[in-house]
Amino acid sequence: MTTRKLGATLLLVAALATVGFLAGRLLLSDDEGTEAQQPSVIDRLDALKTREAQQKAEPRFVGERLGIYIAPSLEEIPAEVRAEDDQLTAAGCAVIPAEQASAIDFPRPLGMPPGYALAEPDVEGSNPWAHACSGRPRLLGWRYSTTGAEGIPANVTIVRSLIRYDTQDVATSQVSTRVIGGREAVVIRPASPDGLAQRVLVYFPEPFGTTSIHTFNLSEAEVLKVAEAVAEATR
């Protein structure tokens, strides 16, 4: 091979390698371009705030579903609905060990879906936590943590209590009843199904009061899985 021929060959190899290098870069940038098209968290939160503002203009839900009364404030809940709980709490309440609230505990063990862990105790001081009023267990609660929308932490608080009402300022269109895990439940839906930065609430009526599920930053579909587990444990 002459020197000229060798030089031409090397040039050709270098040119092909360069084309290959650029093609490799292009392949990766195509992937990144796909990711970049997804709206950012700020964009999604801005859209959420717009939807929430629209919902604020809708009529607020004030009323009863499955024996559970929901209204934006305590003042809007009829006195007769609050009477029993007001009487119970009038003399004051006290924190009790969760074991002492067995009267309102789950009749069957709660089997949460995979990925949920009992959270570190928060402001309540323990997890699960309970309190009693007039010597009667009024509330027993558990808080779970998991990963929610956008890989951001999500909270799930499950409460079994004697309380048959809740104060939630929600649009009428957000409140519905449906059968979950074979049980009738009241559901307060989020403004968007992904649940990002939003709450979803589920209430099961109980002979003693309610079992309620309060979630934050969890998709509606994921909340329904939790609700099915709760329904199973309360049937």
Partner: protein, 241 residues
């Protein structure tokens, strides 16, 4: 022979193009951002009382944790609470932050928890989640704030304190300030531990409401928690967003 050589050259080029490290994709700006959270109660310039040092539950004695309790000097509830602090941007004064007040949990039987998500406008990503308990939100509108090289103080009323005595998670009107123990990669948080006392250590164990001192709420030295990050840092590891 030439065909094989050409094919090998192209394959080697593609592999090298995909494998070799790339520049920061233009996402990282090489500027630093930081937010410090200051005491949330009373009007700016006032000195609220710290009623419980670092704790989880201000029980008797308090359990160790990452929250502080701030009194609002008023026995009744319904007093304003604020999201406030100092905002740092390393290169110039500019609007680099956007905040979203959100209800995390509320109801008559449970402790009411609000959060203000701190996002970075450049990347659009969430960077920190401070939380405020025993309060409501009266203005949930998102808002943007400036930061600067010498830091800029910002304060905004978000809501009011609420009565949670029947829930057994609160006594009296105050704000329990904490944060979600999660941070995006590359975001560092620091608590001002040496300044604020550990609850069991300083507050008398037999009196969870004991005074632990007063701290001027717009004093840059009295920050509670500091979040700092490189602008453009991705929420998800590794590499640029």
């Amino acid at each position: 022979m030439m065909r094989w050589l050409a094919l090998m050259a192209v394959i080697a080029g593609v592999l090298a193009g995909m494998a070799l490290p790339r520049p920061a994709a233009g996402n990282l700006t090489n500027h630093q951002l930081a937010v410090t959270i200051n005491p949330p109660t009373l009007a700016s310039g006032s000195s609220p009382t710290l009623t419980c040092g670092w704790h989880t539950a201000c029980s008797n004695p308090p359990s160790a944790g990452i929250a502080l309790d701030w009194d609002d000097e008023n026995g009744n509830t319904g007093n304003p609470w604020h999201f406030r602090g100092y905002f740092y941007v390393s290169d110039a004064n500019r609007t680099a932050f956007k905040m979203f007040p959100l209800v995390s949990q509320s109801g008559p039987g449970i402790c009411d928890i609000m959060t203000v998500w701190i996002t970075e406008r450049h990347s659009g990503q969430l960077m920190a989640m401070p939380t405020f308990t025993h309060v409501n939100i009266t203005s949930s509108t998102a808002f943007s704030w400036m930061g600067g090289p010498w830091t800029i103080y910002n304060s905004r009323q978000i809501g009011t304190t609420i009565d949670e005595n029947d829930v057994n998670c609160s006594t009296g009107s105050h704000v329990h300030q904490s944060h979600v123990g999660w941070l995006p990669d590359k975001v560092a948080t620091t608590t001002n531990t040496p300044l604020y006392p550990d609850g069991p250590t300083v507050c008398p164990a037999n009196d969870p409401n004991a005074t632990c001192g007063t701290f001027q709420n717009n004093n840059i030295n009295y920050w509670i928690r500091r979040f700092a990050w490189a602008e453009g840092a991705c929420q998800h590891a590794p590499g640029p967003c």
